[in-house]
């Protein structure tokens, strides 16, 4: 199953329930007509959905009732301090307790460090909600390990920088994330990594075939039907040529 199929399949149920736009419905139907495996899987999901709806109508069919309020504390040695104790603890938490001197010193030190960073390197505090918000210069290029796409298996959960050619671009409408399939060799579909950009915003999407450099966190998506290497999240990317 291709990575595109994986995303299409997530929309099967919304499609069955009439919760997709007409445009998306047409795209999905076109995909189902052309992809045998997705077509077969869709049929199974459709039947399963009918079963689920029937189950929703008939329920678990198990007689019984939940405990009454007075029965809640039955079998427990003591009520858990009672609500009075609960309230006392909550009030102490809400007001803030007096801290031990060591804790106070630690917090003061952390606050001083934060202020120092804010004054001397404000770029670090900029909200990293998109790939262009943080530049390699801010992060420090030395922090990213240069990795070839075929070598991703040895760098799980590391900050990496990699280069490749844009093979496909896909926007996940449900999660509002942009996915770029990056390949090492433009004529071949493997090896590849999927680069996930969580807040693309108004970012210019690199065209298919362009060579890009991507900075981000290497991960492996082990979910059934996926099982591929990723750069997720992408912190920034640069188009090397068009």
């Amino acid at each position: 199953m291709s990575w595109r199929c994986s995303f299409r399949r997530r929309r099967f149920l919304p499609y069955l329930e009439g919760e997709v736009s007409r445009r998306e419905a047409m795209r999905l139907e076109k995909h189902l007509a052309g992809c045998r495996k997705c077509g077969e899987f869709f049929t199974r999901v459709r039947i399963g959905h009918q079963v689920g709806r029937q189950f929703g109508r008939i329920g678990p069919g198990i007689e019984g009732r939940p405990p009454e309020f007075a029965e809640l504390w039955k079998g427990k040695e003591t009520k858990p301090g009672g609500p009075e104790r609960l309230a006392r603890d909550a009030r102490a938490t809400l007001r803030g307790r007096r801290l031990a001197p060591a804790a106070t010193a630690l917090i003061t030190l952390a606050a001083a460090a934060f202020i120092a960073v804010a004054v001397f390197n404000p770029g670090i505090l900029r909200r990293a909600d998109g790939p262009s918000a943080v530049s390699p210069a801010t992060i420090g290029y030395a922090g990213f390990i240069p990795v070839r796409i075929r070598e991703f298996a040895s760098h799980n959960r590391s900050p990496v920088v990699t280069e490749g050619f844009v093979r496909e671009v896909y926007f996940d409408e449900q999660e509002k994330t942009l996915h770029i399939k990056l390949v090492e060799i433009p004529q071949k579909s493997e090896p590849f990594v999927i680069c996930e950009i969580r807040s693309p915003g108004s970012m210019a999407i690199p065209p298919e075939g362009s060579r890009i450099r991507v900075y981000g966190m290497a991960r492996y998506d082990a979910q059934p039907g996926r099982q591929w290497h990723e750069v997720n999240p992408v912190m920034t990317l640069a188009v090397l040529n068009r």
Binding site: V51, F55, G56, I62, G64, P67, P80, L86, A90, T93
Partner: protein
């Protein structure tokens, strides 16, 4: 969470047919209830319990399949909720928080217990038995087969089926309760439905 459907063969927890609203209070109402409980208002906790009791019961009994065990689990759920409310910081909505406790309690319970699976054919009967059965027998057997198919799903699949079809939750609500992305919920639900189809396929002609 929307209207919970009444069950067509009766036996909702209060013993009557029909529907009841699950609590979907505005945030300020939830906040008021939680703060009142934190101040030691026993009646506020009773009100909270009465509001959440039925949906949590539905969830728990659907996941564990046994009413006596479900009663114990429900007791634990609200016991933990009562204890935990002192530190509740409104980072999620109350119902999501209580639901998570309930799901964890169910998971822990089922991990400790060995589940014996009854083959669907034993429930639905042989072909001869089906031919001889009356319409009402057949209807009961059909329902039993559907229920058994759901109960035999692996726990993670059963979770999403129950949350979707009994609790009528959206992907977003399920992702908050389960603590995973909506895409993961969608994939898991697809696999669960495909699994249901496969389990009931041999009996398709009779369902």
């Amino acid at each position: 969470m929307g209207l919970r459907r009444g069950y067509s063969d009766g036996m909702v927890p209060d013993g009557s047919l029909g529907q009841s609203l699950t609590l979907k209070a505005p945030p300020e109402v939830e906040r008021g209830i939680v703060l009142a409980v934190q101040r030691g208002d026993d009646e506020a906790f009773r009100e909270l319990y009465e509001a959440y009791r039925d949906p949590i019961w539905t969830l728990v009994v659907s996941l564990v399949g046994d009413s006596l065990q479900a009663q114990d689990i429900c007791q634990n759920v609200f016991f933990k909720a009562f204890r935990g409310l002192g530190g509740f910081r409104f980072e999620s909505c109350l119902f999501t928080w209580i639901y998570r406790i309930a799901l964890n309690e169910c998971r822990n319970h089922l991990r400790r217990r060995h589940v014996f699976l009854v083959p669907l054919e034993a429930i639905i009967g042989s072909h001869d038995e089906i031919d001889a059965a009356s319409a009402s027998d057949w209807s009961n057997a059909r329902r039993a087969a559907l229920r058994a198919a759901v109960m035999q799903l692996p726990f993670k699949m059963r979770e999403v089926v129950v949350l979707k079809y009994l609790e009528d939750m959206s992907y977003r609500e399920m992702s908050r309760v389960l603590g995973c992305p909506a895409g993961t919920v969608a994939s898991r639900l697809n696999r669960a439905l495909a699994e249901l189809e496969e389990r009931l396929r041999p009996l398709r002609g009779f369902l």
